[in-house]
């Protein structure tokens, strides 16, 4: 007993104790719910059986109902589209801004940091502001677009089922640009300057330098930023809640919002947990790929 105590006080037991305290906390409040969720997705759970400790198992019935639901595939398609478009544009705009901010001019670092003001705001408030910008009749976006002659009549960004998903995506891209830019800036700063000078001496033009030097040197950073982008985009909930609530008629619904709606608005907890399981599985696969690739870089 006293050896154990001495180990905690003086030896490696101390490190183990500190690490385990946090791990136990996370296992209790993250890992356990995760496992519980998997179990629930094979059970019959509704408002009445929710509090029971023992619930009837129904096998794959919840998943079968889910796949048969007419909403399932459109919402999955929306989710894929939302993630894909968000990543592509966040990355492209973020990369462009990072390259620009890399130039030598006064206050570059400070101005670059100011972009993060958007990222630090509660996403729900960002959603409220964008809802006002998107407003059909008095929205400022329609005004700009009409002034520029890009649209003839007013666009109903949030209530037109053909557009609503793209409107939420636009707001999400806006929110994601600063984070992409900052991370890519770090990657750019790590490329040795003299490489560019040597290439410029050899007569490579700016485009060639970008294509043959910047992009290959940025490969691991880009990989990290894309994985983090997928993970963060699948966390996006507040914008859906504040902008469209998945509507009109699920036209802008995505899996992470749908899962919540099923559980908390229609009280179909079994289906909610089944959707949740599918998405959590996907997120974890992306995260494993990401962590493994960054660890690999680290050791090499």
């Amino acid at each position: 007993m006293s050896a154990l105590f001495r180990g905690l006080r003086d030896g490696h037991g101390f490190d183990a104790l500190l690490a385990l305290l946090a791990l136990v906390y996370l296992l209790t409040f993250s890992a356990f719910p995760l496992v519980y969720n998997i179990v629930m997705s094979f059970q019959e759970v509704d408002m009445f059986s929710m509090a029971d400790l023992v619930r009837p198992f129904v096998g794959l019935a919840n998943y079968k109902t889910l796949f048969a639901s007419p909403d399932f595939w459109p919402i999955l398609r929306n989710t894929a589209l939302f993630v894909l478009l968000s990543i592509v544009f966040q990355l492209a705009i973020g990369f462009g801004l990072a390259l620009f901010m890399q130039q030598d001019f006064p206050g570059a670092t400070y101005l670059r940091g100011l972009f993060l003001a958007a990222w630090i705001m509660p996403a729900l408030v960002v959603g409220a502001v964008w809802k006002w910008i998107f407003a059909g009749d008095f929205g400022v976006l329609n005004y700009f677009l009409q002034q520029l002659g890009l649209v003839g009549s007013k666009v109903f960004w949030l209530s037109d089922p053909a557009i609503s998903l793209y409107s939420v995506t636009i707001a999400n891209i806006w929110l994601g640009i600063p984070f992409n830019m900052i991370l890519l800036s770090v990657g750019l700063a790590g490329i040795p300057k003299d490489m560019y000078e040597a290439a410029a001496l050899d007569g490579a033009n700016a485009l060639q330098r970008f294509w043959h030097m910047t992009l290959p040197m940025m490969r691991s950073t880009l990989g990290a930023v894309i994985s983090l982008g997928i993970i963060f985009t699948l966390q996006q909930f507040d914008l859906f809640a504040s902008l469209t609530q998945g509507g009109p008629a699920n036209a802008s619904n995505v899996a992470q919002y749908w899962s919540w709606q099923l559980s908390f608005q229609t009280y179909d907890i079994a289906s909610g947990s089944a959707v949740s399981c599918l998405m959590l599985g996907f997120v974890i696969v992306v995260a494993v790929i990401y962590v493994r690739s960054t660890r690999h870089e680290h050791r090499a």
């Binding site: 006080r9 104790l17 500190l18 130039q103 408030v125 502001v129 008095f138 997120v283 962590v291």
Partner: protein, 270 residues
């Protein structure tokens, strides 16, 4: 000359990007009659100071104090559990520590909206739902703890081991060396990360919406959603609410901008 042209261009990009923020502040200052003019005006002709009225009418004191409570509680738990773990992970390289780090990174990526379902059911069964703000603090802490550990770990890694070893030779225990040498030296990283965690929790929405049913215990995000309603038109009031809510956040951000950016970038890519 070229440097100043680039600066001007950078300012233009920033202005375009931050236009939604300007629009929020502008709308908050416009009187409601001017809010609904088309074409819209880009400068308030007759600025109105509605803040006190919205603050009282929308019960913002209650909502904001609930948000504050949740942010303080979350930050306290995270700092308590996370600091030691970050330290241990920075000091020991072993297979076990790698496994722990991997598990922690995995738990960072779980979206709150997907975790809300099982957490609601579990908390209902064990009765935690009766103290909903505590419930939100507990799960929000679990959500942000991994980020805190990852970011703080990089601060501990920058402290040379020799300093602690010297203290140990002088008779300090591991705990003494940790508290009196390592923590004070990593102070900056710990503080900045705590501020980041605090700000994130201050804007928490999913768990508050899912676990808190009583209105008097709701947070400022949920209050804003209630205010927006399905067919709202009071954009002037909503933007005033938003301004009251985010101005302190933006103020803290501008003060700590440099440190937040460097802390974030150090942690995210390692």
């Amino acid at each position: 000359m070229k440097r100043y042209a680039l600066l001007a261009l950078a300012l233009v990009f920033l202005a375009i990007y931050l236009f939604p923020l300007y629009w929020m502040y502008l709308t908050a200052f416009k009187p409601s009659s001017e809010t609904f003019t088309y074409p819209p005006s880009f400068w308030p002709h007759d600025p109105e100071w509605n803040f006190a009225k919205v603050f009282v009418d929308k019960k913002m004191a209650t909502y904001l104090s609930n948000s504050l409570l949740i942010a303080v509680g979350t930050t306290a738990i995270v700092a308590l559990f996370g600091t030691g773990c970050a330290y241990a992970l920075s000091r020991v390289r072993s297979v076990w520590m790698d496994v722990i780090l991997f598990l922690i990174l995995m738990m960072q990526v779980l979206p709150s909206s997907l975790m809300a379902t099982p957490i609601f059911v579990i908390f209902n069964q064990i009765g935690l739902i009766a103290t909903p703000r505590t419930a939100v603090v507990l799960v929000q802490a679990a959500k942000v703890l991994p980020l805190y550990i990852v970011l703080t770990r990089t601060s501990f890694m920058q402290i040379p081991k020799e300093l602690e070893e010297a203290a140990r030779v002088d008779g300090a225990t591991r705990f003494g060396a940790f508290m009196r040498i390592a923590v004070p030296l990593a102070r900056n990283g710990i503080l900045v990360t705590s501020v980041l965690i605090f700000l994130q929790s201050f804007g928490e929405y999913v768990y508050s919406r899912s676990l808190i049913s009583e209105e008097a215990l709701q947070t400022a995000t949920v209050g804003l959603m209630n205010f927006m309603g399905p067919n709202t038109t009071d954009w002037n009031g909503i933007m005033t609410y938003a301004v009251i809510y985010v101005t302190p956040i933006l103020f803290v951000f501008v003060l700590l901008q440099r440190k937040i950016v460097s802390g974030l970038t150090a942690g995210a890519l390692k």
